[in-house]
Symmetry: C2
Subunit: 205 residues, 2 copies
DNA sequence: GCCGATATTGTACAATCGTCCAACAACAGC
DNA sequence: GCTGTTGTTGGACGATTGTACAATATCGGC
């Protein structure tokens, strides 16, 4: 007759880790590094206990590393839907400069994590790995359009240009959404690409 | 016979404020927001007392605001030497993507401050003011080159493109200086500009 | 129903945080 | 040299930080 309602739910380690990463990203989004706190993260993870992060990740810093790889994975995933490695330039422009992704929360999270990349060698290595992956995809997408044509600059150079442009526009728009509209920044991307690749703008009716 | 060597030096308020801003920027550069601490800042300001920041600025947050405007002033100053409002595009490329300015310290400082811009309305206002100023200068520099010629896009659009590109390249290079050389990023800027303005690259011998 | 592996809790801990404030000292003006 | 203004000191304060660790609870396998 002891109905015994459990005081807490037990999760498998991988699932719990995922929950904590999720909570960590949420905290980064609304408080930056200062918001990335053991107490707040556990609170955000459904009121878990303070000991959990140390238990599952060893330290707060390692949770941050996990958050970084997750965030990067998602970014790449959004730019290449359906899990394929295939990406089109318009799709990337649409996804990375979407209304959702150019939010102040997204900005705060990335700024905080980038700030750590410069400090943490492990994170730096991870960053480099992802960046190369990202660049490779863009080069591939460019080649699909150029289709063997000789461009004014190499595909790799144009890819670097494109990535930096997207990052810069994303940053400026996050900082001040009223100053730069979504249409503005997306158009700017096409201005850049068409200067090298010719007309590629998808007809929007 | 009381030789009386002073225990500390008294500064005029403006001079002391400047010292604290300097120390604040130094702390931001090597520790981001986490390094921006009353204790560390005072230590960096020649071992001043902990009460000084509250006394001169009212709060730590207001010191941060002062740091932001100083950093932005210096950035604009570096891009337009001699104190003139006049700026040339090559000069900006040279200054903002210089070896010195693409350091991890510079990165950490800006990331930390931008993270606050998204939170603090006062800082946001300041940011907007400076950005408009910055944009105006770039438009002016573009007009000097286009010289009335009709471009593929408006001078304002190209200015936005340019600023975002510089920011993006600056960011990527700060994050991983070994991946993107100074020559790479500066060349990328010219690739962009020449696509719209025709040859403008200064002959480097 | 019990057991054991293991996920979870919650406190203790020392360190650090930002702010406040009363006492103090430097230095210009007299 | 004294005095008044004002810049400076440094400790008190409560809140919060990340980590460690022993105690506890859950839940699958029997």
């Amino acid at each position: 007759m002891t109905a015994h309602t459990p005081k807490y739910r037990r999760y498998e380690a991988p699932e719990r880790r995922e929950m904590l990463v999720e909570a960590g990203l949420a905290c980064l989004a609304d408080g930056g590094v200062s918001g990335f706190t053991i107490d707040r993260i556990c609170e955000a993870a459904g009121g878990a206990s303070r000991g959990l992060i140390t238990h599952h990740f060893g330290s707060k810093q390692q949770l941050l590393r996990a958050c970084y790889t997750t965030a990067y994975d998602r970014m790449l995933g959004a730019a290449a839907p359906g899990g394929s490695a295939q990406t089109s330039l318009p799709q990337m422009i649409e996804a990375l400069l979407s209304e959702d992704y150019t939010s102040q929360g997204t900005l705060r999270a990335w700024l905080a994590m980038w700030g750590e990349v410069a400090n943490d060698p492990d994170l730096m290595q991870e960053h480099r790995r992802y960046y190369d992956h990202y660049l490779g995809r863009v080069v591939q997408a460019i080649r699909e359009i150029s289709d063997g044509r000789m461009l004014a600059i190499s595909e790799e150079s144009l890819a670097t240009l494109f990535i930096s442009m997207v990052d810069g526009l994303w940053l400026e728009r996050c900082l001040d959404p009223e100053r730069l509209s979504r249409a503005d920044v997306q158009q700017a991307c096409y201005d850049l690409l068409e200067a090298f690749l010719g007309p590629i703008r998808p007809q929007t009716g």
